[in-house]
């Protein structure tokens, strides 16, 4: 759907078949898009909504039925929006969904103004409900994990350059700070993925680091279970399938690495198997 730079350079065109046509190009953000997120939950007549965050700090909500901007939100004081994520919805919000046709969704947006805003769009509102000040100026995006009773866990880069902070939301209570051991020196966290194994309730966190390694943290025990170096350049993005215990990471060296997690919670880099099936994989650069 979205492909900002789809034109192939002439030299490439000779070698490769032309890339497939985009189905539609959504126009109108007026500045570069830095974050995208599909809202499958809030559908308008069978079409999901799409959130896009632009460099100018605006969040656009697109209807994929009319392929037009439904709402534009401004909450990051003109600074680039880097991450968009729908939040686990509170039960009363779901009720609103039934009564209200359009986007009664709450979502969070992270911006380069070091703020993480929580939005509530129920009943036509478009206001920031709450916000969280971040202390890390890096590009690392946050990650969330839904918990019980409307609570959810949020992982964001922490104050120290190599730290990851875990917060309990929506109360914003800091649960812990994950700091690698002094001698590890993995550099800054570049990407985060909070997840939970189906067998246990303990939240786990995958972190891609600046030195090209991916680490699995046990959040409750605040320790690294396993760490594997799969890239030579910083890890830019990663995704993990908790069902199959396999993950993919991409790095600045333009390579993907596939790795898996064994029963002992140890990460292992595996050769990409052409037959291997990834049920879920999303990378955003």
């Amino acid at each position: 759907m979205w492909s900002p730079g789809y034109r192939t350079p002439p030299s490439m065109a000779a070698m490769l078949p032309p890339p497939p046509d985009p189905k539609f190009v959504l126009r109108g953000t007026q500045s570069a898009v830095h974050a995208l997120h599909f809202c499958g939950e809030a559908q308008v007549q069978g079409h999901p909504l799409l959130l896009s965050g632009s460099r100018s700090g605006l969040v656009h909500i697109w209807s994929l039925q009319t392929r037009r901007v439904v709402t534009t939100l401004d909450g990051h004081r003109g600074r680039c929006v880097t991450w968009l994520q729908t939040l686990p919805r509170a039960p009363q919000l779901i009720r609103h969904l039934e009564a209200h046709s359009l986007s009664p969704l709450g979502f969070g947006s992270q911006g380069r103004d070091l703020k993480l805003c929580l939005w509530d769009l129920a009943e036509g509102r478009n206001a920031v409900v709450d916000f969280l000040c971040l202390e890390n100026v890096g590009f690392c995006r946050g990650s969330i994990l839904a918990g019980e009773q409307q609570r959810w866990t949020l992982a964001v880069p922490g104050k120290g350059s190599d730290e990851v902070q875990i917060l309990e939301m929506p109360s914003k209570t800091s649960v812990c700070t994950l700091k690698p051991e002094a001698d590890a020196k993995p550099g800054m966290p570049m990407c985060l993925e909070l997840w939970r194994a189906s067998s246990s309730l303990r939240p786990l966190l995958l972190v891609g680091y600046e030195d090209g390694s991916v680490a699995l943290w046990d959040v409750s025990e605040r320790k690294i279970c396993s760490r594997v170096t799969c890239h030579t350049e910083p890890v830019m993005s990663l995704d993990f399938d908790s069902q199959k215990a396999r993950g993919v990471s991409g790095s600045a060296e333009k390579a993907l690495a596939v790795w898996s997690l064994d029963e002992q919670q140890a990460l292992q880099v595996s050769e990409p198997d052409p037959r291997c099936h990834l049920s879920c994989f999303a990378l955003t650069v």
Partner: protein, 1089 residues
């Protein structure tokens, strides 16, 4: 006159008269009696009824020959008595009845007596009055089986009168009397309401007269039109009243199988009819024959009252005898339906009322048999429809179609019952398709072009006032009347309204795909089906009918739309010279040949021109119509869906715009119409609004299709249409796609330049129009540029500059430009740019170095990019492209005039190819190039001066000089040649250009020398005129030298010396009358200050 109220008094008065009458029966006595009767009150008369009647009856009964006059007056008197009294005894009634009827019978000849018309009339009146005077139940006891012979006698008498008499009055009276006799008269409470049993008895009784009555009346009804409408109306009235009474379903339903033996003598019993099933069947069959005859005759009766009565007949019979007269239901319904569109409004209204009544009562819908009959009728009509349409005249066609329409209206939702049968649907659809066949042999369709491509925006405006629903004139093979087409559309709309839309759309889409022969018609039908389904233009009888739900309708429309706009149905060959504009002349030649040769053998069947190497005119026409119909369809869809159509705009708008840019006039018109429809349906104010609001959809389509230009060669047209129909607010929306277009042009400049150049032209024309450069600003800036340029040449501007402080001017300019730009809407962008440009020369130029150059306004950026391409395309090998490029270049210069920093380098690069165009190209190109040169000279004079003088002027002057003797010798035809136009254009252009460029003396002389020859009276007048204009401009630059030059040619008077010390000047111009330059020089010298 005294009135006698009591019987006693009356008796006293009447007795002598009655006695007198009984004794001598003369007319006078009867009249005397009647005169006396006038004085007696009704109540008194009632008491003496029998007494008074006696002498009268006696007079009638007296045997022997009687004088007619006497009988007449007796009957009249009798009638008078009866009209004032009641008959209370059955016997009296019967006797009077017999006596009266006997008056008209001659026992000798066994038939109607040959008596005077007055007598006949009197007797008829008498009978009628008698029946009315029967009191209460007496009338019912009168109608017992034993009366049959006498009643029959009277009935046949009256029928005979109605049929054979000459007098209209008698005929009508007889018919009315018959009606009374059969207890069907129109008067109030006569007869009183009958209960079921009584009705049945009467029905049984009258049944035996039915054959006689019906046949006789049919003869009357189907008789000569000239007999007068009232007779036919009355006959029809009696006919349907009688038939509907005897054949009433209500009565027949209760008829027992076994005939109850009436207690009458054998002779009478034989006359009695038992209305059992067989009888009903037989009678029904026979009546059907008669009814058919009647309908056939009456439905085309010239008098509207007759047709109105026919409606009453149909209504009564269908409502009362739907079972017994089932066989006739077909013809009856047909008659009714065909009258729906009667020319007489009363008939129409009544007919619609009856139809509505039927629909409300669910006569057809609830009656399976009727629906069967209707669908059979429909089927047979559909079968004969093509034949009828081909053979009938327009009136006949109209009535045939009105019939079809009526059937559909009457069937209403039951129409599905017909459509579900494959045979019926096939028949109907084929019939419609055949009838709607277009005549595609007209050459004009292909030939008409949208020539005014530069002013497309004018065409939507004119058509903006076009009322909705009006469509392009079509030419059909089988009919020419617009109303016929209107009816056909209504038929389709009704089908769409009542029919199963999925079924119909599937069926017609199949036909659409099946053959090119069907395609246009199927599309037309589909369009109307959708409109009908939306229930917008349908006059519906069946109110409870549920419409198609909008969601479903949208799905259906989407599927039709996809079919329409698919590659093979949307991109059809519509003209010979498709893209090969390079070989235009030759292609056109062959195209014309194709046109002339193919019209001879033109078959109406179109070919799949898609695969044909050389399409015929017919197939191209057919294609054009197909596209038009499909475009119109899209408009219809929008109309049908209303606001819901907005969701389809994503896909629909692009193809429509593509066709709006088509060069075939019809297609472009149809597309514009379709856009207007979309505008109205979706609630946009104007085409401009529509395009601006949906530019994201359009731009997306353009951007995607540009990637596969070979598959979508028409893509640039969409942008062209967008630009032509919008305003400056569109520019930011299309800016990125313009870059795409330019990039694609770079990729395909050798193959598809033509279509791109026209987009560029549209683009620049739009820019020039959207961002006009006001004169004051242009001059101011020019001044600024002159300041820069004239620092060396010490021009007047610099002097001026010195008198005011530089800061003042700077501030003034800055403020002015700021305001100007705010007004233009390019606030932040252009601000700094202007500032930099208009900064006075020599002030800290190094500080505001080129490194901090602010972004240019979008339109300037675009114009710069386009001009860049123009420079390359200027030397294209295709003349048509070169011409267009020169136009674009011209516009580029206009747009860029305020941005010299961009314009000058580009102009520098454009110079060599431009010079080449000027000096070494087709005359047409020279003309355009000259135009560019003039514009360029206007915008950057200094820059151009030296180059012009060096590269261009010598050649221009040379050609002028060389051509002068030719034009001087040439005849009047010369003014039509290209050479003449070239000379003239050059002369016209030179003057302002020279003035603008501020040429030096030497160059000025060159120009003047070249033009002088054209001042000769031998030259064509227009060239003289143009040459004069050159000198007028030159005078402004250097009046003295021009004075001298002119005087050298022709000297009107030697100048007087201002001072004797000066040398006398000898001017060479000869003052003679024969000097060819005299006239023009004199005129010019007058202008000289």
């Amino acid at each position: 006159m005294a009135v006698f109220d009591t019987p006693e008094e009356a008796f006293g008065v009447l007795r002598p008269v009655c006695v007198q009458l009984t004794k001598t029966q003369t007319v006078e006595n009867v009249e005397r009696l009647q005169a006396q009767l006038q004085t007696v009150s009704d109540s008194a008369l009632q008491g003496l009824q029998q007494y008074i009647l006696f002498p009268l009856r006696f007079a009638l009964k007296t045997p022997g020959p009687k004088r007619e006059r006497l009988i007449q007056s007796v009957v009249e008197c009798l009638t008078f008595v009866l009209s004032s009294t009641c008959v209370k005894e059955q016997e009296l009634l019967q006797e009077l009845f017999s006596e009266l009827s006997a008056c008209l019978y001659s026992p000798n000849s066994q038939k109607l007596a040959a008596v005077s018309e007055e007598l006949k009339l009197a007797v008829i009146q008498g009978l009628s009055t008698l029946m009315h005077s029967a009191y209460g139940d007496i009338i019912l006891t009168f109608y017992e089986p034993s009366i049959l012979p006498r009643l029959g006698f009277a009935v046949s008498l009256l029928l005979g009168l109605a049929e054979q008499e000459k007098s209209k009055q008698i005929k009508i009276a007889a018919l009315k009397c018959l009606q009374v006799l059969l207890l069907q008269c129109d008067c109030e409470d006569h007869p009183r309401c009958l209960d079921e049993l009584e009705q049945k008895q009467l029905g049984d009784l009258f049944a035996c007269f039915l054959p006689g009555i019906s046949t006789a009346l049919t003869r009357v009804i189907t008789g000569d039109f000239k007999q007068g409408h009232s007779i036919v109306v009355s006959s029809l009235n009696v006919f349907y009243k009688t038939v509907s009474f005897v054949m009433a379903d209500e009565q027949l339903g209760r008829t027992s199988e076994v005939q109850a033996k009436p207690a009458v003598e054998q002779r009478v019993a034989e006359l009695m009819v038992h209305r059992e099933a067989d009888w009903v069947k037989n009678t029904g069959d026979k009546l059907t024959i008669l009814i058919k005859k009647i309908i056939e005759c009456v439905s085309v009766h010239p008098h509207w009252r007759v047709r109105l009565e026919l409606i009453a007949l149909v209504e009564t019979l269908l409502l009362k005898c739907s079972q017994s007269l089932l066989e006739s239901a077909g013809p009856l319904l047909k008659a009714l339906v065909s009258l729906v569109n009667d020319e007489c409004p009363e008939v129409q209204a009544q007919c619609s009322k009856v139809l509505k009544h039927f629909a409300d009562q669910k006569v057809v819908v609830s009656n399976r048999a009727f629906a069967d009959i209707l669908s059979e009728n429909l089927h047979s009509l559909a079968t004969s429809l093509p034949r009828l349409m081909a053979s009938q005249d327009d009136q006949g066609r109209l009535s045939t179609l009105a019939l079809l329409l009526g059937y559909l209206k009457l069937l209403g939702p039951k129409v599905n019952f017909v459509l579900n049968s494959v045979a019926h649907l096939q028949r109907l659809s084929k019939a419609l398709i055949q009838v709607l066949e277009l005549d595609v042999a007209d050459i004009k369709i292909v030939e008409e072009r949208r020539w005014n491509s530069d002013h497309l925006s004018a065409s939507p405006k004119t058509s903006a006032s076009r009322p909705r629903g009006q469509i392009q004139r079509r030419y059909f093979r089988f009919f020419s009347d617009e109303r016929v087409f209107l009816l056909l559309r209504q038929v389709c709309q009704l089908l769409g309204f009542y029919g199963n839309l999925y079924l119909l759309v599937d069926h017609f889409l199949e036909l659409y795909r099946e053959s090119v022969v069907y395609r246009k018609q199927a599309a037309m039908i589909l369009n109307e089906l959708v409109v009908g389904a939306a229930g917008l233009e349908v006059e519906h009888l069946h109110e409870q009918h549920i419409r198609t739900n909008p969601e479903e309708l949208r799905e259906i429309v989407t599927s039709i739309f996809e079919e329409y706009t698919s590659q093979e149905n949307w991109y059809l060959v519509t003209c010979v010279e498709t893209e090969e504009m390079g070989e235009e002349p030759t292609m056109k030649q062959s195209g014309l040949q194709a046109i002339t040769s193919s019209t001879q053998t033109c078959q109406v069947t179109a070919f799949a021109s898609f695969s044909k190497p050389s399409p015929t005119v017919c197939s191209m026409n057919s294609n054009i119509w197909q596209i038009c119909i499909q475009l119109e369809g899209i408009g219809h869809f929008a109309h049908a869906l209303g606001e819901n159509f907005r969701l389809l705009l994503m896909t629909a708008l692009y193809p429509v715009l593509e066709k709006a840019g088509d060069q075939i006039l019809l297609i472009s018109e149809a597309a514009t119409g379709s856009m207007m429809d979309i505008c109205h349906a979706c609630g946009y104010d104007s085409l401009q609004d529509l395009i601006n609001q949906n530019s994201d959809y359009l731009v997306n389509g353009i951007a995607l299709n540009l990637r596969h230009l070979s598959l979508h060669p028409h893509t640039p047209k969409v942008l062209e249409v967008m630009l032509r129909n919008s305003d400056a607010s569109l520019l930011p929306l299309v800016a990125d796609v313009v870059q795409d277009v330019l990039a694609t042009l770079d990729q395909f400049y050798d193959k598809r330049a033509a279509s791109f150049v026209s987009v560029l032209h549209a683009l620049l024309a739009a820019l020039a129009q959207w961002f006009p450069e006001t004169d004051s600003l242009g001059q101011l800036q020019e001044q600024g540029v002159q300041e820069e340029g004239s620092r060396l040449s010490q021009g007047p501007a610099t002097l001026e500059n010195n008198t005011t402080t530089a800061d003042d001017i700077e501030q003034f300019l800055l403020n002015y430009l700021k305001e100007k730009d705010v007004a233009d809407g390019n606030v932040s962008d252009s601000d700094n740019e202007e500032e930099e440009q208009s900064a006075p020369p020599g002030v800290d130029e190094d500080d505001t170095g080129p490194s901090v150059e602010p972004p240019l306004p979008v339109q300037i950026q675009i114009a710069t990019d386009v001009m860049e391409r123009c420079i390359h395309l200027l030397s294209d090998k295709n003349l048509k492209i070169r011409l267009k490029v020169l136009d674009v270049l011209d516009l580029c210069v206009v747009v860029l005039q305020s941005h010299k920093n961009q314009l000058l380098p580009l102009a520098h690069r454009a110079w060599p190819p431009l010079v080449h165009r000027l000096t070494n190209d087709d005359p047409l190109a020279v003309l355009r190039a000259f135009q560019v040169l003039r514009t360029l000279g206007g915008e950057c004079g200094d820059f151009l001066r030296s180059r012009f003088c060096k590269d261009v002027l010598p050649k221009l002057a040379g050609s002028l000089v060389a051509q002068a003797p030719v034009s001087a010798r040439a005849g009047p035809v010369y003014s039509h040649t290209l050479a003449f136009k070239l000379q003239r254009a050059v002369l016209q252009g030179l003057g302002p250009l020279c003035e603008r460029l501020d040429l030096g003396e030497g160059d000025l002389n060159k120009v003047a020398d070249a033009c002088l020859i054209y001042l000769s009276a031998k030259q064509p007048v227009k060239l003289q005129e143009a040459a004069r204009s050159v000198f007028l401009h030159l005078m402004k630059v250097d009046p003295d030298s021009i004075w001298f030059l002119l005087n050298e040619l022709y000297c009107p008077e030697q100048p007087t010396l201002p001072h004797p010390n000066l040398h006398p000047v000898q001017l060479r111009g000869a003052p003679g009358q024969q000097n060819p330059y005299k006239a023009n020089v004199l005129r010019l010298l007058q202008e000289l200050p």
